[in-house]
Amino acid sequence: MTGFFQSGPVHVALAAGAVTAVVSGVVGVLVVVRGQSFAGHALGDLGTLGGSGAFLAQVSPLWGFVGVGAVVAGAMELFGVQRRRGRDVATGVVLGAALGVSALLLYLDTTSTSTAGATVTVLFGSLFAASPASVPEMAGLGALGLVALAVVYRPLLLSSVHPELASARGVPVRSVAFGFLVLVGVTVSLTSMVVGTILSPALLVGPAACALRVSRRPPVAMVVAAGVGLAATWAGVALAYASYRWPPSHSGWPISFFIVAIVFVAFLAVELPSRIRRRRAPGGA
């Protein structure tokens, strides 16, 4: 393990993972409380569009993720006024069209430029290949997100738990919702850098869902979620580093697989015991 702490890519991966875990833990708790997992998932998938476009334009995928995340979040909130079932279908159709265009962009990436691995990098992430320059950029975005969240925290929480009461107290509920969705878009762009666009929901929602089983109080849950996320990313980096000596190929297992698997196991560990307890004591929950 001595090589582990001297390797440059490992430093970058640990730093990028830490920033992402903290931001996504804090924002993820509010995503789960507001029941917006599908939105988080859709924003991740749509980030594919930004990531593949960024590859084609030869800029850092981070800016592709951020640009598309912010724009699409706004568009989704605009359509969100319709009734629930209509929104479900509209999101699905928009998602399908955007993924179709992503397919085309990725196809053009692989055929017209030399980035043969673009599909894998964008969809499943490649943290060890992240450039050192992207760490301060990610840290800056994350800090910006956390500051924005701190400013709107109280009205946001109130309008999540009790929209009617919030609007009665003069909270601009729609603007708060719009701002929050943009914030989710930025957070998803960070998680997309770490585990790729289609796995990013795991890092956004997973630690938060675990934490909310431990404590229903949002501040406590945010700290726990950030801790779970941090543990999962760092353990994932360490395991991926070790896996270069594992069969079958000795070329390393995907880092995203480890992170997602750890998050999933953590969720099951918190979820299953409470399920069994509830079954033993019917009506108890």
Partner: protein, 261 residues
Amino acid sequence: MFSGVMTNAWLVASMIGVVAGVVGFFVVLRGASFVAHAVPLSSFAGAAGAGLVGIDAVAGLAVFAPIAALGIGWLSRRRRSDVVTALVVAAMLGLGALFLSWSSQYASAVYGLLFGDILGVSSGEVWLTAVLAVCGLAAVAVMYRPLLLSSVSPEAAAARGVRTGIVDMLFLVLVSLTTTMSVPVVGALLMFALMVGPPAAARAFTRAPARTMAVAVGVSVATVWTSIVASYLTTWPIGFFVGVFAAAFFLAGSAWTAVRG
């Protein structure tokens, strides 16, 4: 465009269009876009694992799609299902990424499975797809009334003695069956566009269930056929055309509703 390997593509795609239209009608009726999106994505691991072991992708899908669908159904019985679904999908996708990193044909294999490949159909798969299509349509015919009732009003269905829990599970199996058929051709990421876009468009023209289903089948088959032609002519991925054409039909349907007021 109609010879050799392409004949298989036309046959399979037509069957996919019919089944996706029928099953998609219930997906839209139940507001289950997320599940329709999640099941194909999760079954991606099965296709990737099949490639690793050296068996047919359809076989891998046939195992993983029902597991994913029933797993989501079981885990989400008592809670809001979206968190659980998101996590199951991510875990299965991570597994798929692992399987792909083990096999030698990394980038191109990922691409075909996620975004579709019109030349990815063998003659054996045509028969397999035909069997699956017949099973799926027969299942819908048998449970048509309870499925429809429980989709429109779960309370009324329960009051009439329909066991909604079992019907919900059977619906998930139907989605997974459609997934198994469609993923090799349309791709795991774009499969759900075919199940959501055409039926949603059909609802703009008529509200009677049987007629909506017929229109949905027509639109969905039209989507698949035009996508094959476009993909063949441009060599661009079929997933692109399926996603865009499905959305275009949905927009046309919405425009029609808006014009008629």
